[in-house]
């Protein structure tokens, strides 16, 4: 099928299948899935700039579906999502500026590749350690899946809880309460910092950086895993819409490809979101571990072969 905006010939079935796979991952883990979508679009000959911009547009649609489903399951903290969107947009702009600086210095590829590998491997290692430790600690009485609505039903357990509690005790004005997430008071600055760092990586490494933001929400802010997944998706709608707009005015978005891809993602995202009901927080986090490693493998492949996937 010919897509006139980007001038690419791509099978719509291929696009729908890629969308479906990313939809399931997104609905279940609260990630945008750009580490799969970007290379998958690139693999069928779409220019890199179109792959990045079009992927962002598709992420908006997929996140709307998944966030709506998560909202129905009581997994979205709207107040937290709006505050985080501010930090993410600011961070994404700074990340993009950082990339421009490195481009001028002439070593952007090496720096971004090394940092991304270090970040991906660190996240995976930490989550593997934490989720296994939590599951071992609660072997006798395993944590329950996140069925039902309200903070009590979504209550989560983590081996990192003492550090999270210490962060929540920081009294830096203004404080905000997040009753949906079961948090009595937390500094707005901590939320903004977490989302800013997520946005920074998003602008710096590309994609939505859900693989950084979702774990940060669980470990730093102390949001239950099910709520972190749902709220991250809601927040991605805002930040990815902003990204889509800026890429579209630069001529990097083929919305027709995004619309076709999204037909698969719409059903995948619903399936992924429903599946979260049947798994406890630590199990979702344990299943999350391979995702950043896939990202690291793609970067290593690119470094070794010189081909951008």
């Amino acid at each position: 099928m010919f897509f006139p905006i980007s001038g690419a010939h791509i099978s719509p079935i291929y696009l729908a299948i890629v969308g479906f796979i990313i939809g399931i991952l997104g609905g279940f883990f609260g990630v945008g899935g750009s580490f799969i979508a970007g290379p998958a679009l690139r693999a069928v000959g779409l220019d890199w700039n179109f792959a990045v911009g079009t992927d962002l547009a598709h992420i908006v649609g997929k996140s709307v579906v998944a966030a709506k489903r998560h909202r129905a399951l009581g997994n979205v903290d709207l107040r937290l999502g709006f505050i985080m969107a501010l930090g993410t947009i600011g961070g994404a702009e700074c990340g993009a500026q950082l990339i421009q600086m490195l481009k001028r210095a002439g070593n952007v590829n090496l720096v971004v590749s090394v940092i991304s590998i270090a970040v991906y491997v660190s996240i995976s290692s930490f989550m593997l350690w934490e989720s296994r430790k939590t599951l071992q600690l609660h072997k006798k009485k395993p944590p329950s899946p996140g069925k039902g609505k309200g903070a009590a039903a979504k209550k989560d357990v983590s081996a990192f809880t003492p550090t999270t509690r210490a962060i929540q005790r920081l009294k830096i004005w203004p404080m905000v309460s997040l009753p949906t997430s079961g948090i009595k008071a937390i500094s707005v600055w901590v939320i903004l910092l977490v989302s800013f760092i997520g946005g920074l990586f998003s602008g710096f490494l590309g994609g939505g950086a859900g693989y950084i933001r979702m774990p940060s929400m669980v470990y730093v802010l102390g949001i239950p895993t099910h709520l972190a997944v749902g709220t991250d998706l809601f927040e991605i709608i805002i930040s990815a819409s902003y990204g889509t707009f800026t890429h579209a005015i630069k001529g990097n978005v083929d919305i027709l490809i995004a619309l076709v891809m999204h037909t698969g993602a719409a059903i995948g995202a619903q399936i992924g979101a429903i599946c979260t009901q049947f798994f406890s927080g630590p199990k979702i986090r344990l299943a999350f571990v391979p995702l950043p490693l896939i990202g690291a493998a793609i970067v290593i492949y690119t470094m070794l072969t010189g081909h951008k996937l």
């Binding site: 099928m1 905006i5 889509t244 005015i249 001529g251 719409a266």
Partner: protein
Amino acid sequence: MTSEAAKTLRAFAIELVLYAVLVVAYFFCVLHFLGDALQRLAAHHRYTYAGIAILLIIGQAVVLEGVTTFLLRLLRGRSE
């Protein structure tokens, strides 16, 4: 496999077939009705194109979410 699981899988398979038919029809509608207009906008009116692109993807998301939810309810005979 339990009868409940078999029933769910059968419903899911039917749902996928129905959805695939709808989606194939949709591909042709989108490209036929929107292709040229969007290409012109992308080439000459970037800001309008950017705004319409976001509206289209969000609009499609809301409609498809409604369609898939309707299909799930119709085929499984119960609300989720």
